[in-house]
Structures are given as structure tokens and as C-alpha cells.
């Protein structure tokens, strides 16, 4: 396999104990991603990318269960259309991560930007800190194929806009004493799926309502929070000590009265 790569790329690659280490500094994203696909096609199991500064589309369209550790700041569209791998970002992520992601897992030790999980169809995304605007927009699910987006901090406006399935949790762990979530237009246009918020949101889209969390919800929340705590060394009991609110859409057809026939 190594013979396929040209010497320039070869010089950036080292293998130690089954871990492929890539020096990605100043490497254009096309070459970086091509390299990842080559490694992917040969069954590489663990890859580390170092010196990442804004390279886009990392993890896009990768199909196996490769695990990728990213050191630096990955560029936009991280894991777009991704189909299996497990990506860990040791730092912050930018915009549009998990765009139409199908399967796999992303763990970000930091914050993420806008439009996270647009059209996400499966897999799980865990963000330790805050997230930007329009998170979870148009997430979808079908039967038992469901996406999960767990945010440790707080979110900006249009959280869960147009949601058509999946589970979105916002934990608010970065909020200081007495601070509240400031997200506006939460769940606007939502017609399926569920949003759980630890704490309070007050500014909702007109398609959603707040309801109580029941036993079934608690099971889902606990499972995801447990996984969240395992990645980020957070305290499980502390997280579950505060109340969660559940936000669901009123109906699957929120716009019945708009049109005249």
C-alpha cells in the first residue's frame, strides 16, 4: 500500500504500534483526505492527525470503523456524509460538522460552530462545550436508525430548527451560577424528534411545546449522559441532579391552516 503514495506524503507518515501518525501541517485538504481514504481502504484502525489548521471535509465518506484523533482545529464539514469512523477532536471544531452524517461517532474536546449535524441521519456527536447557531437542523430518523447530538454547554439560536427525528440534548454545563440558556427560536419548524434541555429555555418556535420528562425519556438521557461523562470526565450524578425539560412538536403537520385551496 505504501508504494501507492508518493514520497512527499510518505515523509509525513509514521507507524508505531499500529497507530498511523500523519503530519498534516500545510497539507492541502484534498491530499489529506485522499491519504485518509487510502489508509481506510487498507484497513488502518487508528490514525492520528497532527498540525491540522482548518483542513476541511476530514472523515468525509469514510466507511470503516477507523478511529481518527485530530490534534489542531479541523476545518468546516468535518465528517460530512461520514459512514462509520470514530473521530476525536482534541480542541475545537468549526462549522457544519456531521453534515448529513450517516453512521459513526464524533467526540469534540471543546466547542463546535454553527450548523452542526445538518440533516444528520445516524451516529452520535458529543460536544464538550458550547455550540453555535442552527445546531441539529433537520436531523432525521427512520425506524430504529436515529442520530444523537449531545452538547455539554449551551447553544445559540435556532436550536433543532426543522427537526424531523433524532435526539438532541443540551446540558448547559458551561453556564455560570444563575445564568440561563439564551437560545431563541428553539425547535422552530420542528415536526418530529425530541430536544432535552437541562435547565430552561423560554423562547420557543411556535411549532413546539414543553412537556415533562417521563421514565422512558430518563432512560435515554441517562444513557447518553453516561457516555458523555466517560469521554469528558464529568460527574454523572452532578449532571443528572438538575431538571430536564422536554421539547416536542405539537403535530406532524404544523402548517395546516396556512393555505387556501
Amino acid at each position: 500500500m505504501l508504494a501507492e503514495l508518493d514520497s512527499r506524503l510518505l515523509s509525513r507518515l509514521t507507524l508505531t504500534d499500529k497507530v498511523w501518525r500523519v503530519n498534516a501541517e500545510d497539507l492541502h485538504y484534498r491530499e489529506l483526505n485522499s491519504l485518509l481514504r487510502t489508509l481506510d481502504s487498507y484497513g488502518a484502525e487508528k490514525v492520528e492527525l497532527h498540525g491540522v489548521y482548518g483542513q476541511r471535509y476530514i472523515g468525509t465518506n469514510l466507511k470503516t470503523n477507523m478511529s481518527i484523533d485530530i490534534y489542531g482545529t479541523p476545518g468546516n464539514d468535518l465528517a460530512a456524509l461520514m459512514n462509520g469512523p470514530h473521530i476525536t477532536v482534541h480542541g475545537n471544531a468549526q462549522d457544519c460538522i456531521a453534515n448529513t452524517m450517516n453512521e459513526g461517532k464524533i467526540v469534540v474536546h471543546g466547542r463546535a460552530g454553527d450548523i452542526t449535524g445538518y440533516g444528520m441521519r445516524g451516529g452520535k456527536v458529543f460536544i464538550r462545550d458550547d455550540i453555535g447557531a442552527r445546531a441539529g437542523i433537520h436531523m432525521k430518523e427512520y425506524m430504529d436508525k436515529k442520530p444523537y447530538l449531545v452538547v455539554g454547554g449551551t447553544a445559540m439560536d435556532f436550536l433543532g430548527e426543522y427537526m424531523a427525528g433524532g435526539v438532541l440534548i443540551v446540558l448547559g454545563l458551561t453556564l455560570k451560577n444563575g445564568e440561563q440558556h439564551k437560545s431563541r427560536f428553539v425547535g422552530t419548524g420542528m415536526h418530529a424528534g425530541v430536544i432535552y434541555v437541562r435547565g430552561n429555555v423560554t423562547h420557543l418556535g411556535k411549532e413546539v411545546k414543553i412537556t415533562e420528562v417521563d421514565k422512558g425519556d430518563l432512560l435515554i438521557i441517562e444513557g447518553l449522559v453516561r457516555e458523555f461523562c466517560s469521554y469528558f470526565k464529568a460527574d454523572f450524578d452532578e449532571v443528572l441532579s438538575k431538571n430536564f425539560m422536554k421539547i416536542v412538536p405539537y403535530s406532524h403537520r404544523p402548517y395546516g391552516r396556512v393555505y387556501a385551496y
Partner: protein, 378 residues
């Protein structure tokens, strides 16, 4: 056709050009000047956000020896445009020193002639006209008179450098490695309608105000007509031009603070305004009633700068990205975080400002002024 005549003015007769782009700003809050390495590195990191048809920089504090004079940067697209303009300049100003701007070969397209003048307004001018107003009038006159000469920088002790090429190539062309400034704002352009022309690149400038802009103003048509009532002429065929004139009108002429100006450019929704306490509600309502034509609709993230201040702002429903960060005395604003990390891997603070809320860096204020123009309802 003279070699200096360029097919720059768009053959498509566009009123304005659209821009999908990258922006970056860096400022020393202590006012310490630094070289071009960090800004150029950062803006070129965001290479994929532009398409090589525009790039530019605004730098503050670059002419310490001439800092009392207005530094005019003028681009000439034809030879007799320079002759005509020189006559206008001579009639309005005492020209202290002028020269062709130093440039070197770089990967840029069809550069026009670039000239730099250090001037002071003539003493014999109408009493009620301040020096600043005099300069603006002269700039508007030059920009409309020949159609081939454009003043693209007109402030004191600062300058704009811009043109058709990737920002790193523009930096190369203008020898920016020789300049030192305490505030740099940078832009990489992705124009979609025209082949790009030198006057249409960002930053846009009037006096010492500069604006770099990522996005498109769907309200441009009315923003422009409103500003025309106040004597600003939009000649550079790019919607960003109105942002530069708007800040000049509101902040310099009408002396409104940035906290108020951001409420004009990115106003709160009526549904929120109605719920504020009466004093605040009346002000915000009056602002929208009076300055509604300056509401900037459409996606935008902008960096506005003038001496001593750098301001980052996004539109009220946050359709464009903007990241702010600090490290020691340095304040960074960027379309993407990776660009900041590249030049400063360690950061003290990093955050994404909310839509419509400005990030303000002021020289002398070591503690960063991150001001939310909206007060939370108790």
C-alpha cells in the same frame, strides 16, 4: 488602447457584486505595532473561502512620519485620469509628498497604477466645512469625475491595500512585509458576478473607516438610496461600500456609539423590543423608525475599524460565522477558528459572538470590551 486602460468597470453593468469570502482582524490592544506575518498567514489559511478574484488589507499606524496628513491611496485605470485627478488634488489640497506605491511582481491580475499622496486640506475653504468633510467631498468628486480614478484609502496614518488576487498575493504585490501597524484587517474575496476589479475588492474605506465584509446585503438597494441623500456616492459596485459610508454617517457625523450603531445595522426584532423596559424600548423603537433604511438585511459578518477601535459584528440571525479570541494584548476576529490557532495556538479566551452583538476592541482598554447592545430582561 493605452496599456493603463483596463476593462475594469464591469462589462455586465452590475450595480453590486456579491461576495462569499473570508475575513480576519488582529489588533494590539496596547497599540503596539507589528508586522504582516500573522495577518497574512491567517488570511491565506482560509484560502478556500475565496477564489483569487480579490484580496485586501487595512493597516493602521503605518505612516508615523506623516501622521498628521491624510494619506490618499489612488488607483488609476487610465493615464489621463491621473492628470485630471492631480489637478483636482492640487485645487483642494497642499500636497506634502507623493509617489508611486512600491510594488513587486506577484500573482495578481492587471494591476492599475497605484499612487500615494500625503495631503492637507487647503486653508481657504468654507468655514462650516471641517477638514474631514472637505476630504470626503474631494474623494466623492474624484471617484465620480473621470470614472477611471478611485481613491481607495483616505485616512491619516493608515492605509488600504487591495486588488485582484489572493490576499497573500496582494500582500506580496504591495510589499506589505515592510509595513508595521497595530491593527490589521484582511479579506479574501469570492465574487460571483463579475471577473473582479481592483476597486471592488475589500476593505472599503472612507477617511480612516474601513470595512471588510463576508456576505451579501439584500437591503443594498435602499441602504444606498438612503446614503445618497446624505451626499455619499456609491461608485465601487460592491454592496460593502454602503457599510463604510453608513459607519461614517452614524459614528463620525452623528456621533452615535457603536453599541447604538449595531442596533441600527443589526436591529433587534420588534417582538423583543416590545418586551424591554420603557426607556430602552423607546430608544430601540425610535432607532428602527428613523434608521430603518440602514438595517442591513441579508447574511453578513463584518470587521469595521478606525483608529483605536476594531469592531466585529454579524447579522441578527447569524447567517455568517465569526469567532473572537484574545491572547495577552492581542484581539483576533476571524471567519474560521483555525486561522487564529495557526498564528496563536494558545489563546486566553475564545467565543462566538451572538447575531447582532458587537465585539469591540479599544486601544488602551486592556480588558476587552465585549459589549452586548441588548439588555437581558430581568
Amino acid at each position: 488602447m493605452n496599456e493603463l486602460d483596463h476593462k475594469i468597470i464591469s462589462p455586465f453593468n452590475q450595480d453590486k457584486d456579491f461576495a462569499g469570502c473570508s475575513i480576519f482582524g488582529v489588533m494590539s490592544l496596547g497599540g503596539k505595532r507589528f508586522n504582516s506575518e500573522a495577518p497574512v498567514k491567517a488570511i491565506s489559511n482560509m484560502h478556500d473561502r475565496s477564489n483569487g478574484l480579490g484580496g485586501g488589507f487595512a493597516v493602521y499606524g503605518i505612516y508615523p512620519d506623516f501622521k498628521d496628513y491624510y494619506a490618499l491611496h489612488i488607483m488609476y485605470l487610465s493615464k489621463d485620469a491621473k492628470e485630471k485627478t492631480d489637478r483636482v488634488l492640487a485645487s483642494c489640497f497642499n500636497i506634502i509628498y507623493d509617489e508611486e506605491m512600491q510594488t513587486k511582481v506577484a500573482n495578481v491580475v492587471d494591476p492599475p497604477l497605484m499612487w500615494r499622496y500625503f495631503v492637507e486640506p487647503k486653508k481657504r475653504r468654507p468655514k462650516n466645512l471641517s477638514e474631514d468633510e472637505w476630504v470626503i467631498q474631494a474623494v466623492m468628486r474624484i471617484n465620480t469625475e473621470t470614472g477611471k480614478a478611485f481613491v481607495f484609502s483616505s485616512g491619516k496614518d493608515m492605509g488600504v491595500f487591495k486588488g485582484v488576487g489572493y490576499p497573500e498575493d496582494i500582500a506580496e504585490y504591495f510589499c506589505l512585509e515592510d509595513y508595521y501597524g497595530y491593527l490589521w484587517s484582511c479579506h479574501g474575496r469570492f465574487p460571483t458576478n463579475t471577473p473582479g476589479w481592483w476597486g471592488g475588492a475589500h476593505p472599503f474605506n472612507i477617511l480612516d473607516w474601513t470595512v471588510v465584509h463576508n456576505g451579501e446585503l439584500s437591503s443594498y438597494g435602499i441602504n444606498r438610496r438612503y446614503l445618497e441623500m446624505y451626499g455619499y456616492k456609491c461608485t465601487l459596485q460592491t454592496d460593502t461600500e454602503v457599510l463604510a459610508y453608513a459607519v461614517d454617517l452614524l459614528m463620525r457625523r452623528q456621533r452615535l456609539p457603536i453599541e447604538v450603531v449595531s442596533q441600527i445595522l443589526a436591529a433587534s426584532f420588534w417582538s423583543e423590543i416590545d418586551g424591554f423596559e420603557p426607556k430602552r424600548r423607546d430608544v430601540l423603537r425610535a432607532l428602527r423608525q428613523t434608521y430603518g433604511s440602514l438595517l442591513m438585511n441579508g447574511p453578513f459578518s463584518i470587521i469595521v475599524a478606525h483608529h483605536g477601535e476594531m469592531i466585529g459584528l454579524t447579522d441578527r440571525i447569524k447567517l455568517r460565522p465569526l469567532i473572537a479570541a484574545t491572547r495577552g494584548e492581542m484581539l483576533y476576529l476571524s471567519s474560521e477558528e483555525a486561522a487564529i490557532r495557526l498564528v496563536s495556538p494558545k489563546l486566553d479566551k475564545l467565543w462566538a459572538p451572538r447575531g447582532g452583538e458587537p465585539v469591540i476592541g479599544r486601544v488602551g482598554e486592556k480588558k476587552l470590551a465585549e459589549i452586548a447592545a441588548k439588555v437581558e430582561a430581568p
